[in-house]
Symmetry: C2
């Protein structure tokens, strides 16, 4: 590995986003999503399924208090994924096994948002939330309300299925965000106390377990970066190294021996350094792969990096939708086999694409190759943004590439494909994950090392680093023009990603190109203008993907387009384009000169080519679909 290329992302306090496109999304999260989620966590949304999140912390705090006072505390079973009024005692834990994490993700998003736009009312709410959380922490640092409420003796006994270490990960990420935003250490101290308990509980000669749902690894690395306390980095490394060793810890935990196949789901079938294919639950996967990249970078671990690179290539070349969606199957919310990318059965969870962005940035931090940022952009501008309605009030968990509402309603195989966004989910991982990503977008746009500052994503605004300050005016999503007004403190190298979709990048200054970046040497105040011409492109998906044979998709700049019934009528499958079809772009839409087949009367007839009429087909960016009620949608269109 080329160590001198190692770079780190800019911290949010160095980046201010002020961008036509992104400011709107960030404000939507601040004004709509964060307040809505606050109400959801507090069960203040009439008609919505209860979250129980805050209730659980309050119940746990009482138990902690009773333990301190040596009062008798009850025990309830800790044996389910979801605890409901129907299946458990009213005094027991309620909600999903990972319910606590929703609170932490909200705090994390609130922290990022405060960093961007200070809001005293939001800070007050977050402080109250943090008080509620911290009251529930046990004296030894343990903090997971399921086990605190239901059964203290069972702590860390079912790492495979339950989510103590997952909740710890989100607690830590939330605490770090909030500390960086406000300087308040209360939640950070709680996270550190829990982290210390974990570091003293897991390791060689200690409990040799690792998380069933990864994220603690990434969080421990972040905590190390903040505190420089070595134990956190070592425990993260331990979790990575121990994972998948035989006999499987998850087998030992339940005192039986099983086979490798059982642990694909958790990516625990073999040691991460021996993994070369993306398998299992997609969100867990990309969280693990992100941490593997972190550890590979810190420890200059070539074999682990090789595993990351192989997994990356497997995702990018064989398991990723054109929209940057990953995890093709509802079956275990998982990566499917190579080239299995069905459009109408897609899972493509919003959170999985968010995790893919985490993984991409970490790969960029190891090696600044534009392919990572290209995928980051693909996932961000398409699947991730599609996750949220234009009004910020409803969300997609699943992001299909083809929708027929009748099928979603009538076909159990497609029941996960929702034709419109949902207000909230009982398993509400995606909306808060989306909120924290959008609010922290600045962390994904830039990385730097001692000599070079890299631009990976193009958002207008300002950045300030030791190298100097840069003002960025970006019209990236429309004209493709961006201007960097650079005021250096010292000479440095400035590297701008050349988007993969741009055939003729134009820059106002001389540059040399390497791995998809244009490198400039900056000595004094400089303005670099660049233009990435936004041509409408017809994209072909590999013929290894059965679903897309004979079809094409349209893109313009970073956006993949789709077409909806609202613009084009029913039976979208009867529309087609030809390779020479005239396409025009206007106000964000594409109008393609295409064809519409006349519906066939009979089910089976002797073959003759369909009767086609010329028609105009209107396409909209994929992320905007589903904002006009239930209707048919498709990304791919037949090309004849």
């Amino acid at each position: 590995m080329e160590i001198n290329h190692y770079s780190r992302h800019l911290e949010l306090d160095c980046v201010r986003i002020d961008d036509k496109f992104w400011s709107k999304e960030i404000e939507l999260v601040r004004k709509e999503v964060i307040p809505y989620q606050y109400n959801a966590l507090n069960d203040n949304i009439p008609g919505a399924q209860k979250s129980y999140s805050i209730e659980n912390f309050i119940k746990a705090a009482k138990i902690v208090q009773n333990i301190k006072e040596n009062k008798k505390v009850e025990t309830y079973p800790a044996d389910k994924w979801e605890y409901t009024d129907e299946n458990c005692d009213e005094n027991a834990f309620h909600g999903w096994v990972f319910q606590d994490s929703d609170v932490y993700k909200w705090i994390e998003a609130a922290g990022y948002s405060l960093m961007h736009t200070y809001d005293s009312a939001l800070k007050r709410k977050a402080d109250e939330m943090i008080d509620i959380v911290c009251n529930a922490q046990m004296d030894n640092g343990y903090l997971d309300t399921l086990y605190i409420i239901n059964d203290r003796d069972k702590i860390f006994t079912n790492l495979r299925d339950f989510h103590e270490l997952y909740c710890f990960g989100h607690l830590t990420e939330g605490a770090i965000s909030y500390y960086k935003a406000t300087g308040d250490k209360k939640l950070l101290n709680a996270a550190i106390k829990f982290a210390d308990l974990i570091c003293s509980s897991f390791g060689e000669d200690k409990r040799k377990g690792y998380p069933g749902h990864e994220i603690a690894e990434m969080a421990l690395v972040k905590l190390y970066e903040l505190t420089h306390s070595r134990a956190y980095l070592d425990t993260a490394k331990f979790f990575i190294e121990e994972r998948g060793k035989k006999p499987y810890y998850f087998d030992i935990e339940r005192d039986k021996i099983t086979v490798e196949d059982n642990y694909f789901y958790n990516q625990a079938h073999k040691q991460p350094r021996h993994q070369h294919e993306a398998v299992g639950h997609a969100v867990r996967g990309v969280y693990l792969y992100s941490a593997m990249a972190d550890i590979a970078r810190f420890f200059r671990d070539d074999a682990l990096y090789k595993a990351c690179e192989d997994i990356w290539n497997n995702i990018e070349n064989k398991k990723m939708y054109i929209t940057g969606g990953i995890g093709a199957t509802v079956d275990g919310e998982a990566f499917s086999f190579d080239y299995d990318l069905p459009n109408d059965l897609a899972y493509s969870e919003t959170c999985a694409s968010i995790g893919l962005i985490f993984f991409a940035r970490r790969m960029l931090e190891i090696a600044p190759k534009s392919k990572y940022a290209d995928v980051m952009e693909r996932a961000l501008y398409n699947t991730v943004l599609a996750g949220m309605a234009q009004d910020g009030k409803s969300f997609f968990y699943v992001n299909p590439l083809e929708v027929l509402p009748e099928a979603s309603h009538k076909d159990s195989r497609k029941r996960h494909i929702k034709p419109t966004r949902q207000k909230w989910f009982s398993c509400a991982c995606c909306p808060p994950n989306l909120a924290r990503l959008i609010s922290s977008l600045g962390e994904y746009c830039y990385t730097q090392n001692d000599h070079t500052l890299f631009v990976h994503l193009f958002a207008g605004g300002n950045i300030k680093t030791d190298k100097g300050s840069i003002h960025i005016r970006s019209d990236y999503t429309h004209s493709g023009e961006i201007e960097f007004d650079i005021k250096p403190n010292k000479p440095f190298t400035f590297a701008i990603r050349i988007p993969h979709w741009c055939d003729n990048p134009e820059f106002s200054s001389e540059y040399h190109e390497k791995d998809g970046y244009a490198y400039f040497r900056v000595h004094h105040n400089t303005v670099i203008q660049c233009k990435f011409e936004q041509k409408i492109k017809i994209i072909k998906c590999s013929n290894n993907v059965r679903a897309n044979i004979g079809k094409a998709a349209l893109s313009r700049g970073p956006f993949i387009y789709c077409f909806e019934e609202a613009d084009n009528g029913k039976n979208l499958q009867m529309l087609s384009i030809s390779p020479g079809s005239q396409m025009t772009y206007k106000d964000g839409f594409i109008i393609a000169d295409g064809f519409r087949e006349k519906p066939d009367d009979k089910l089976y007839t002797e073959y003759k080519a369909g009767v086609k009429k010329n028609c105009k087909i209107k396409l909209i960016p994929y992320y905007l679909w589903g904002n006009r009620g239930e209707n048919e949608m498709s990304v791919y269109i037949r090309i004849v």
Copy 2:
């Protein structure tokens, strides 16, 4: 309805099949399937899942004996679909709720087979089986081993979910077959005794229920036709009339009120005469529709016939695979919505196509329109025959039109799609159903009324009716040449179906055509030769079916063709033909001049047409697929 056209099928004792194509299949059933199934029923197949069928009858006989002797009998829960060693007492009923029916279907097939080829060893086995069955009958005529063994007090209390009336139906059909074959009345008397109990238990002013899984209706009509005992016909009619009336009997049974949607599965959402779309569990559906046609015919019931015709048209025009498969979705083994005919997710149960043949013949008996026989042929020569391996030793329950073995193994949505035939099924409805259909094929080839004898399917052999005798030499599946050597007892009209796929039927005599039949007047000994030229045809599926846009299938005569990896290599999706492709037929195969695309290296690239090479594509009849181990298969091929 044109009453003078009403016709009835010929009985098996009037028909002798002696045909190059069909005799082989009938012999396979006689020599392989019937003996194998006998062993399966007796749990004599090492390694196979236990059937428990005979065991249950023996257990039930003991209970019946104990009741007679006033001995104490135990009670066990009768509350499950499947009773296993794990979930029930060893003395209780075992197997599926409809386990008895496997025995009856075997007896039915054995009866037909004996009629065709007498076999004293088979008769002895069947007689023993019948003794075992009859010993289990209760004094009042009741005969369903689940309730006899587990709980006599619960008889007829859960018609919706359990299968007493279904098992009665198969008992009756088996008994009639065996009586007609052998003249032995023992099983027939048992069926009559059970039928009498049912007729005295159900009806106006009695229990107003009807079967959850239809077939009793058809069986009661058959019993009426044999015995002319009016109660059987009236009870069949009652079941049809009462079905779907509100409040729903199935609701009353469980003392709660539900909505229409709940009873689509059982076709009990509304009265059959008000049903106009094929919905719910496909096998149940076609069994009901068959009985509706029976009742419409007997009672000259125009409204009921209209419902049958509407349902038929819905199936034929919107819900039937090109292979004659129906029931597109695994979800409830059901008809899906209009035009939802996915190839790689198809359910298309063998039994459903068998039931479609039942329905088709009954529609033919009302009105001799070739469309019914065309569908009968389509289902028979494709899906039904595909249900059985070439050696008669393994079977398909599900008949997909596209198979990728990796998907079947790895994708839960496709787990029902088996890439090779199975030895036996725990739910073993299809193999015995297939055995009874093939063995009784003669009942589906011909119908007659007072003045006309109709030929619907073309199998060589002899028929004898009051109109005279006919010797048929058929080379239908190869040259398409058939010769009818007719020796009439009296002048009559002879009607030969003109297959829908034949553009230029040739007949040696003058005829007039009506509704797809060529009508001949036969006065004296006559030879009619006909030729249905077997052209290879490229078939287009309606563009309303999303799965087949841009694709075509090939057929020749009654056979739909498919192409397999064994002949054409992996990645069948990369093969294509053009509308002008040269096709040649040789020895049952089609060789098409087509194209093979070079696999794309990258997942997403700017569009350009794939690089294609000319290649030969070998296609085999669909019913032969899967006889050479696991491999890719597809019926549809891209057409460019």
